[in-house]
Amino acid sequence: MLVREAEMEKARNVPKAISVKNLTKIYGNGFKAVDDISFEVNEGEIFGLLGPNGAGKTTTIKILTTMIKQTSGSAEVAGRNVNANPKEVRQVVSYVPQAISVDGDLSAYENLLVFGKLFYVNRSDLNSRIESALEYMGLSERKDDLAKHFSGGMMRRLEIAQALVNRPKVMILDEPSLGLDPSSKKQIVDYIKKVNKEFQTTVLITTHDMMEADELCDKIAIMNAGRISIIGAPQELKKSVGGDVITITLSKGSSVTQVLGISIPLILGNIASNDGSTLKIVCENGEHAIPRLLEYFEKNSLSADAISLSKPTLDDAFMKYAKASLDSSRDYGDTRATRRSFARRSG
């Protein structure tokens, strides 16, 4: 308990790169795109903003990058208020929009040059910063080629290189892997990680790719219909969906009545379903439970034919929380029901 409090104390003292309080945006046509959201992103963190299309992610980003003004609430980026100091905010934030936004009629080098100048990077540092950003993103050899001849993945890398020229404290990427092939996706994810680690740049990212979010993000907020359904580490979100599910098929020789009558110690998990030959067991840590379960069955003179383990994915968490706020009348507090529904889905 003490440890936990100490951790929380520590979390409070970590400087915040982004801090959003009761943010609401209602557009001119009355559409409430963002509905009273609050969240904080620690310095150096990779924060994922997930949610279905139209959840309010891009609107939130537009407010954070001072493109549009919120209706109410407040937002700070790197300690600067987006309304009081919009220019200062833009000076320390780099934004990579959803659409590929490099200028195809300019070379890679020139694309960076323009942004370096618009960010007022010192003339004496400009060339070396551009060269190092291109080098860093693996584009040095193509720096004099027009960007329109680049592949989608290279264009994205060029955009990240562009974003690096002003050495941002916060980098905001709106669906950076949209429309890329799997290997380019992987590459972009690796580059984002590298930037985050080496420059201690805080990253705010939106994505529809749960695998990517899981791999990349330290913390995730799931948005739906303008609200944040849940915030947590990917691990916590997955855990909140339900535990690991172990499916054991017992050997043909076992007596059905014996199998139907079996119970297992609570410490190993709960039996979610049992049809007389196949058991589905929900537990906290599947890898850990499997050998102990086998041992337990052996003791009760039962042997297993096949065994499989399925772990909850971020997709499951996404489905749950994205749906949860669509239909808020449903109570997701009941773990048993959730676990059952999870067991059914994976069965």
Binding site: K62, S107, E110
Partner: protein, 259 residues
């Protein structure tokens, strides 16, 4: 502090102008093709209508008379469709990214207008060269030509800003194409580009006097043809006023484009 801001503003504006110059250096095909139409105006239209006496003031051929007007027209064409480019850049996210830099929004607008001006300079040079090639006798004095290019830049900035205002109201490329087609010819015909204002019906004369293009053609004609600079201060003043008004309105309406 204020001085610093002025320097930064100017730096952002020039950066966008430089960006456009670099694009033209990479690929200027479009601008060369845009020289075809003015060439037709000068060779075909100019020669045929030149047969009618009284259109041009005495002492000048009709082709000489319309050459400055054709130059202004080709700058107008570049500028009036510039808003399409802005809509295009908005659709591609480039505009949002430009606006996410610490450069002031108005500097992005002025910079984009200057970018149209850079294209205008190129058009100006091409048409002066064309006039040389076609043997149209103009005053090819270096200072006069430079003066014409300055007027071309201001003119392009004025109508590129108008085009950006229209873009922020109309918001799509198709509509911009339509409105561009709809207003270029009226602007051209309601000016002194290819005939003197005195020949127009009374009502049209007033419209022509309110048309910035009239002042542009007048200034260009003074520098390229007559060498009579008496009207120049009025022309430049009228052009500066209209350009400033357009830029201010465009800076105010820009946010409609990104919402």
């Amino acid at each position: 502090m204020v001085q610093n801001q002025v320097v930064r503003f100017a730096s952002s504006v020039l950066t966008l102008g430089e960006m456009e110059a670099r694009k033209i250096r990479h690929d200027s095909t479009e601008l060369w093709m845009r020289a075809i139409q003015p060439a037709l105006w000068l060779t075909v239209f100019g020669t045929i209508l030149g047969a009618i006496r009284g259109l041009a003031p005495s002492g000048y051929t009709y082709t000489q008379y319309i050459a400055p007007g054709v130059l202004a027209q080709s700058v107008l064409f570049v500028a009036i469709f510039y808003g399409i480019l802005i809509v295009w850049e908005r659709d591609f996210g480039l505009l949002t990214k430009l606006l996410s830099t610490p450069s002031p929004r108005s500097s992005i607008i002025v910079g984009k207008a200057l970018a149209a001006g850079v294209r205008g300079i190129f058009q100006g040079i091409v048409i002066v060269a064309l006039a040389l090639i076609l043997g149209i006798n103009l005053r090819f004095d270096i200072l006069d030509v430079l003066g014409v290019l300055v007027v071309a830049v201001l003119f392009a900035m004025c109508f590129a800003s108008l085009s950006m205002i229209l873009a922020s109201l109309l918001k799509t490329r198709d509509r911009m194409m339509g409105i561009g087609q709809a207003i270029t010819m009226p602007l051209f015909f309601a000016s002194n580009a290819i005939y003197p204002i005195s020949l127009m019906p009374k009502a049209l004369q007033y419209i022509a006097l309110g048309n910035p293009m009239t002042y542009v053609v007048d200034a260009m004609r003074a520098m390229l043809l007559t060498g009579n600079y008496s009207g120049l201060p009025t022309d430049i003043f009228a052009l500066l006023i209209s350009t400033t008004i357009m830029i201010v309105i465009a800076s105010l309406t820009l946010k409609r484009l990104i919402e």
